[in-house]
Symmetry: C2
Subunit: 406 residues, 2 copies
């Protein structure tokens, strides 16, 4: 049996919405979550939006018995909000920063699976990239005028590229998190198509939980009902995705979502529902070629669609860069004009001051403010243009590679 | 012979020092560089500090014949300054951003090697991460009081982790760039030890060029002589590093550096010397296990040394965070005090104003300035603390893994 061990893996994923001073009943919910995690003893727990390191430390103390390995990702000014608890050793980690904003993170967790009857433990190295997009829900609800779509697509592309390049070092790739995208969105299709990741919800043999696997639902007491008006059933934006590399197969046996209040209480864990997957990981007799997930014939269409959207974003960013640059130049000209007028008055060239002193000063302050703001905007849009342009180039390269493939 | 093809690869690496309006004789040097690259026709050209996209475009047009594939990395406000020219197709790329600053970049270049006598071309996929640290030379010359050492170590660590995680998807890893570190520095030892990369200078069968392979030398007409006073021979900070993965072996047959003025002219290409390596890549009969470069028994010592330095930086950053926070609070208190005094005067509580109006206003402006500056510093140091802390954690995890290894 040594060549054919099976590992049953239970994964818990939740966007905790635990923002100090802002999130309602935060401490109570974190305590409740800790109790549940301790009772259920999953194999891997992926949490997002744990913004307070104290909450993580409390959870760590509480869960030390059943999840001896954990990590909190520190970054930026307020941290990343991401943490992971694991029954098995965390071997390694790598932080990857999006070029536009937000951070996905990768943890390598090593599992050792001991089959009854087998003499040696067979170690299954599993790479679990853990993701939480920091782009918040705004873009999700204004689907008609989604100004952030190109940014989200750049992030989805970068994440997909990151997974492609790092996944060869793993046997199984797991990704859990709040992707802030609906299942049919081009960003999700791009991510899944370009990496070969499978959606646990779509693949699960059994499903139990919210209808359509929705994780943000109007009848949760913490969600903003008005924002979810176009979606009476809710939306599915939290995912567990997976794929097997080399000589492994992965099957999703069961997928669950929580359904409102935690057992025995009146409040849910968060404004999101948790996603719980049970995966079966099996070692095959012999290695199979690594799939980079580019076998789907419709993939070229998805990349083309994404590239078109990025191109639209690029044009918009170029226009905004131009407008903000022009505004900065105008403000600078006004300031120069004022300086000339002031110097003229000081030198006694003009007989009278053209404006009252106060208005003159106020105008100068206004021009200075506009100059500072428009310069900052110009710099931001310059960066944005470069990133969108770079992503468009990369997608073009990917399309060429797809077309050249026999 | 199909199982044993050999590829001879010539790589050119140069920090071009091509900053618009600032670098001396820039256009002349870029033209000269283009002529030489066209004449010599290397296989792969890695350039840093090409800050003007126009220079890249000019080179691209000039080199289209012998280097049909090229890429310029767009990022940030002023770009990355990095570009690559290749005789073989660029298959893919991935951008990785340092958490503190600077950007390394990765390009996957696909080589197709056709052996005389073999019927089929054997493709060698080669991953070439291209690196240019944006930390500039300041830290190099004040070696006694090197305040940037912890930052450089964080970058070296992140780069090493990035290479470890992405290199399994490649057969050969090449890294060329201005690492801004001396060969014996802990950062270089960490990078080499943790990734298993070999230094082309140390491994080369033949060497030709500047003594000790120095790439920044005092007798270059563009270098700042006073900064190189402690190093009369110069310093070696530009590297070509490599390693083979899976079923390949790589040997460095020859390493060269340029030695001052380009042939037939009176100026060198840059303030750095170029590094030119000739590598022999050979496919072995059967795959060997991937080496992650952690076989060196002294590696734990290097990681410990690096972790100690990062710890020193962490303590310094914590002190600076505290000082800047205290300064911000003091400035805020002063502002509040002034506001109370002003309100008191307005309400007619005080009979006389305690200060002349002008001094009062100037003091308020000063307090506001100090508040803004110290808040910004506090935020920066908060981020710095998080990053250094995170790296210290990761290094501790690495040490534990090294110690647990049989």
């Amino acid at each position: 049996m040594e060549g054919d061990p099976t590992l049953r893996l239970r994964i818990f994923d939740l966007n905790c919405w635990a923002i100090r001073y802002l999130s309602k009943r935060r401490q109570e919910r974190v305590r409740l979550l800790g109790d549940t995690l301790r009772r259920e003893s999953f194999d891997l727990v992926l949490l997002q939006e744990v913004w307070s390191e104290q909450d993580y430390s409390d959870l760590k103390v509480k869960l030390a018995g059943c999840y001896p390995f954990s990590h909190y990702f520190r970054s930026g000014v307020i941290g990343s909000g991401l943490c992971v608890f694991s029954r098995f050793p965390i071997l390694d980690m790598l932080l990857y920063q999006y070029s536009l904003n937000g951070y996905p993170y990768m943890v390598r967790v090593g599992w050792v699976c001991r089959e009854p009857g087998s003499r040696a433990g067979v170690s299954l190295g599993v790479t679990a990239p853990l993701l939480s997009l920091s782009l918040q829900l705004h873009a999700e609800y204004c689907r008609e005028k989604d100004a952030y779509l190109p940014h989200r697509l750049v992030q989805a592309w970068e994440l997909a590229q990151f997974i492609r390049h790092t996944s060869k070092a793993a046997d199984v790739v797991l990704l859990g998190g709040d992707l802030n995208m609906h299942p049919e969105d081009v960003g999700i299709r791009l991510l899944r198509g370009w990496t070969g990741l499978r959606d646990a919800f779509a693949e699960a043999t059994r499903f139990e939980g919210r209808k359509n696997g929705c994780t943000l639902v109007p009848d949760n007491c913490f969600t903003d009902k008005s924002e979810l008006l176009p979606f009476p059933l809710g939306i599915r934006i939290d995912y567990i995705l997976y794929k097997a590399i080399s000589s492994f197969t992965v099957k999703c046996e069961e997928l669950k979502t929580t359904t409102g209040p935690a057992p025995g209480t009146d409040i849910p864990f968060s404004d999101h529902e948790a996603v719980i997957a049970t995966l079966h990981i099996q070692r095959q007799g012999q290695p199979v070629g690594a799939t980079l997930g580019t076998a789907d014939p419709a993939l070229a269409d998805v990349v083309t669609e994404a590239r078109t959207e990025v191109g639209v974003g690029l044009r918009a960013a170029q226009r905004q860069r131009y407008s903000s640059g022009r505004m900065a130049v105008l403000a600078l000209l006004l300031l120069l004009l004022q300086a000339v007028a002031a110097l003229g008055t000081l030198a006694g060239l003009g007989t009278e001051q053209p404006f009252p002193k106060l208005s003159f000063c106020l105008l100068a302050f206004l021009a200075l403010g506009v100059l500072a703001l428009s310069t900052a905007l110009h710099l931001f849009h310059t960066m944005e243009v470069k990133m969108l342009h770079g992503t468009e180039d990369q997608m073009w390269m990917a399309l060429r590679a797809l077309q050249e493939r026999p």
